[in-house]
Every structure is written in C-alpha cells, then in structure tokens.
C-alpha cells in the first residue's frame, strides 16, 4: 500500500513546475503512464486561478470534462494547493494582493498497489504580493487527491 519512491506524484508535480525543461520532463512522466500539463496564470482573483487550471486540465485530457467526480477531485486538489500559496485565507485581491503563478497538473498512480488507481496532483509556484511590481515574494502549493 506504500508510496512508490519513483512515483511520488507530488514531488514530480513540483519538479515539473520548477523545471526549465518541462517538455522532456512530461515525456519521462508519460513513460510512467502518467499524464500532465503545465501553464501560467496571473490574477487578483482566486476564481480565475481555479478556472485556468480546470480549463488546462480539461483541454489536455487530464480529466474527463463530463464526469463530475473528476472535476470534483481536481477542484479540491486546486483548493488545497491554494492553501499553500495563500497561507491562511484563500483570498487575493480582497486582501490587497495578487499572484503570478505557474501551475502543473499530473495524473497517475503513485502507489505500489495498482488498485489504488489514479490520483491527481496540482502544484503551484510563483509570486504573491502587493499589486506593485517587485513587492512580492515566492509561494508554493500542492494538492493531492484520489480521482
């Protein structure tokens, strides 16, 4: 039932996020039978971050757009990742701050046991701060859910 060391999906989702060479990274992940994507979003509104990730995940075939259980799994993974970025209140512009984020979404089975089925990892990395250039520091978040 343990996590497989080579298949730590959260670690891969974060490395993919921080990699300057994502295409190769995604290719290697495909060899684990995993599927993933990477994108960018900047906003003062958390709902735009959510929507950008959902759209990318659907467009890249990571979740089935007409199965709610898959959107539900993704939504909660996104919300968990946003907790890491926002650290207390999942709010951006309403508390006078903005984000510039790179995101990655990965889908696959990180466990030894094949019956654990697919899981989804959403990783976020970027800057958060005042809506003033340079008045920002880095933030990261990861959400992991069964799908």
């Amino acid at each position: 039932m343990a996590l497989n060391k080579e298949r730590r999906i959260g670690r891969h989702a974060v490395l993919l996020l921080l990699s300057d060479e994502s295409e190769g990274e995604l290719e290697r992940l495909r060899q684990l039978d995993w599927i993933g994507c990477k994108g960018k979003v900047g906003s003062m509104e958390a709902h735009k971050v959510v929507a950008a990730i959902e759209t990318a995940a659907k467009k890249n075939g990571i979740i089935q757009p007409d199965l709610y259980r898959e959107s539900h799994a993704l939504y909660h993974a996104i919300m968990e990742a946003l907790h890491g970025v926002t650290r207390g209140q999942v709010q951006l512009g309403s508390v006078h701050r903005t984000v510039g984020l790179t995101f990655a979404v990965l889908r696959g089975n990180p466990y030894e046991n094949a019956q654990e089925g697919d899981w989804i990892a959403v990783s976020l990395y970027g800057t958060i701060g005042a809506p003033v250039k340079g008045s920002e520091h880095e933030a990261i978040g990861l959400g992991v859910n069964h799908i």
Copy 2:
C-alpha cells in the same frame, strides 16, 4: 526592487529539499552568500515540527538564538509553510493524522536591491496521512519572511 532570477530563495529552498545531493546544493548556495540547512522530523504534533526546525536553524547558525526578531521571522515562516502542509487547519494528531517531513531553511537576499537585506525561506516536503503505514500522500509548504 525585483526578485533576482538566480536568487529565488523559495525555489532554491524547495529544490534543496527535493534534491538527493543536498551537500553540493548547500555548497553552491554558500557561493551566493546564503546559509542553509536541511533536516527531518516526523510527528503527530505540530509543535514538534516547529521546535525541530527552530533547533536546526539555531544550531546551524541560520538565526541568532538570542535575537527575538530573528526567531520571530523564522516562527512565522514555519507557520506559513505548515499551512501548505496542513491545508486548512494547522493540526495533526488532533485531527487524527501524522506527518513525516523533510525541511530546509535558507537565509539570504533574493532581491536585486542589497538594501532588501536578509530573508528566510522554510520549505517542507513529505507525507501526511492516517497514523497507518502507507495511508498517506505527499504535502509541501513554503514560508518566506524578511528577517
């Protein structure tokens, strides 16, 4: 006033955390005039995670143990990192879960402007889950503060 691309302290703190070759990584960071450390802690009690990181940061000379402003900066960075790991309530055993974490602490100036002085980044990576072997998934957190 912008973040220096080579000096993104949060990114370095996360890569150091995920690296299998931390000594070389820490050596390279020293060349940026940065100081850092890496350690491990597993617990069902959040306060033990806090204490382990504080102890490591003091023992490795990352913060001055007798200046409260430095402990205060570190404490809030740890708490922010814990938000990423716990995603909602900074609680472990009291909500029936446990963590096994690797942590890294880095201190240095990530900005172009030398007057921005030192900042501190605390990164956490590991597993969170039920107090049952294998019933766990990954989690990550990052806290960044001026010091």
Copy 3:
C-alpha cells in the same frame, strides 16, 4: 437546564428544511409556541445568501427588525450555518463555486428551563459546486444562537 427532547430546535429546523410538507410542519411548530419560515436562495455571493435569510426572517416576524440584538443573533447563526455549507472558507464565487440552497429559520426555547428564553436556529440545505449544471454535490449547515 437540559435540552428538551421534543424541542430540539436544530433537529426541527433541519427536518423542516428537508420536508416536502413544510406547511404542516410549521403549523405543528407553532403549537410549541415557535415561529419559523422557509425560503430559497441561489447565488455565487455569500452576502446574498445572508441578505435573503435576514429579509425572510424580518418579513415573517421571526426577529424584530429594529432591535440590533436580534439581528446580531440571527447574523451569527447564519454565519455558523454557512460554515457547514462551505467547509473551510466562507466563500463562493471568489473560489469559483455557487450554491442553490433552501433555508429555514426557527425561533423558540429548546430547553426545559423557561428562563433560557428564545433561541434561533438557521438551517441550510442544497447543492454547492462549479457554476456548471450538475457539477455539484449536497451541503448542509446549522447555526444555533440565543436571541
């Protein structure tokens, strides 16, 4: 000082909410000397849910509109009920979700002791999810306050 088994105001507020036959239910509650109402609200904005319940409670004579202590009691009961519906952050559209809710408000004394005076219960039941038909699941909330 104990709760009277027949007068569990929260239980009644939830059963009223889920009942297909609310008029009879409200009639029976009137025989306990209680007053209540039931309504519906759908929105992506939490403040509209709050306002809809406040308006219904005033229009139905459940609280006195010109006594702040009564509005205050109701407001906190509504906020507590919203915690059950939102489960973490009292936010809807700002985290890309919407609700379709039925609400009930009940006022009366649920305790054996007449001196406990009036209490207010606000119950919420409905769906929460993405702003896409069918991409939603159920949610419930209950707030109870002295008035």
Copy 4:
C-alpha cells in the same frame, strides 16, 4: 450528469441520522444498492470522532480497509462534516468544549449517470458545548466526497 432526486445521498444521510427508525431506513437504502451505517461517539477530542467513524465504516464494509483511496475519501468527508459541527476551528477540548454525536455513513451513486460511480456521505448530528451537562446546543455537519 445531474443529481437524481431520489438518490440525494446527503439528504438520505441526514434523514437516516435523525430517524428514530434507522433499521428500516437502512433497509430501504440497500434497495438503492447503497450501503450505510449509523453510530454514536462522544468526546472532547476530534481525533476520537474521526477514529470512531473510520472504524464503523470499515467494520460495516462501507470502505475497503486496505485501499488508501477509500480511507482518503472517507477522511476528507469526515473533516468536512466536522466543519459544520465546529463552525470555524476544528477543535473541541482545546477550546473547552465537548461533543455528543450520532453519525451516519452512506455509500452509493447519487447521480443519474452510472459512470459517476460511488460517492460517500458522512453526516453528524448532536450537541456541542461546555463540558457541563445541559450547557450545550445542537450542531450538524455533512461531508460528501467521490470514492
């Protein structure tokens, strides 16, 4: 993709909870091909509430004890239900309060589309208050998750 009106799993989980005649109710739910259980737990420690529900769900065959994805689904449903009961901080004794709860767990597909698969609903109802007999009011919570 819509919720099936007869199969609203959260509503059934709450009615089962509030019913004085649970055996008949569970029997009727079995005819929907659903599986469920009901139990009681009183504690000043949230982790004991979590453990009691997990144990009951495993003992009654509602989740497979050796599949983490099922425990994970249940855990998050329990945590969501606890938000409704605690309304702000998922804490009991640490903020000087205690609960006496009845819980129900239901598993089945509430959607029209068979591909939505199984979902799990955890409902909680009871009292919360000071650790003094009678100094308590009612609380309710519901968590719904795909499994």
Copy 5:
C-alpha cells in the same frame, strides 16, 4: 438604535484592561449600571484561558451560572477575543507558543435604546510567543456579544 458614545462597551473593556488603576475604573463603570471584572491567566492551552475567564465571570456575578444562554454568550465572546490574540488559528501550545494575558469582562447596554438589553465584552491583552522568556510580543483581542 446607535451606540451611545459614553457607553462604548468594547472601548471601556479595553481601557479597563490597560489601566493601572482598575478599581477606580470599575467603580465609574458601576455608575453606568455596568458590572465588570479583571483577571490574569498565563497558559499554553487555550482551554485554560477560556476556563479562567468563565470562572471569573461567574464568581463576580457577571453571568448567571445556571443559565446556559449567558454562558453561551460569554463563550462566543471569549472565542472572538481569542481570534484577535491568536490571529489565524485558535491554538497555543499545539503550535509551540504560549500566552500571558490580562482579561476584562464587562456587562451592560452600550446602545441608546434600552430595549437592546445587556451585552457582554471580553477583552484580552498581553504577550504571545515562544515558551522562552522575552521571545514574545504583544497581542490584543475583543469579543462583543448580546446576552
């Protein structure tokens, strides 16, 4: 329905807290027909802060010990005041920090309208920080509730 400028109960509760001459202050408040008390509590456990304030309020006749509605009003006022002190998670030792607090409780009607009846204000002031002498800064909190 407005707040009476001379009767701002929260302001009085805070000034009483910060005053070096509380006896005179309490005497003047009695002339507004108000009743209050002041005390101290230091702890790493939030529930001990709650219990100390509840005990003082009962012993000083500020609330009626055998009416739950009064304890309920006080409890929520205490919890709200603790939010100001803890600023995010109502936790002390579990996140490796401790408090040394002075508290005040005041009861009276702060509004122009006599029908607004009694309200209760709980104010907290002191230090919060690491369980190390001097590694602490100040914190304040105020909770106001109808009673």
Copy 6:
C-alpha cells in the same frame, strides 16, 4: 531580551487609537524615538482598509516606500490586526458586513536590547456590522511585526 515596560508598542498603539488627544500622545511617543500616525477608514472591502493604512504609513514616513521588506512587515501586521476585527474570516462585504475604523501605526523598538531594532504595530478600533446605521458593535485588532 525582554519587553521594556515603558515601551510596550502594542499598548501604546492601542492607547493612541482610543485617545481623544492623539497629537500630545504622538508627541510623547516621538520622545521615545518612535514614529507613528493615526487615520480613519470605512469600507465594505478589506483591501481598502489595507490600502488606506499602507498609504498613511508611507505618507507619514513610517515605512520606506521603496523597500519591500518594510511594506512586507507592514502588510502582515495589518492582516494580523484584521483578524482581531473580523474574528474568523478576513471578509467584510462578501459576508454582508461593513466597518468604520480608526487605525494607528507605530514604529520603534519595544525591547530592552537595542539590537532588536525596529518593530511595527498596527492597531484598529471601530465598529463592524450590517450595512445599516446602528446595527453594529465594536471591534479591535492589533498586529505586531519586526521590520
């Protein structure tokens, strides 16, 4: 390393806030080598409260506008003060409430040890409630940070 009794910056920030004679108070604080300011803001949007305090602090030379570390220290102090005012969710209009606040910002060293350097205290006092005149009660908040 202890707090200096005469230099309790949070206490001074609150007394300055509640004083009817702020000019004299600020003058006395200048003799401790401290710098401060006082202002007012009313809004249904938390980000306007944040912006008003940031603007006042910059205009009065309390923080250096072009050093991010100083804005960062101030931002977190403001957010902590807002926790005291909002007591649970840092939200105003989105949960149907509004504030009318006086704020003070003070900068100086509250510790015996000169090496502790400057700290910043943000205090907030005013009313919070429904967007209806008189339907409001008092609230207070204090945030303290190293700068």
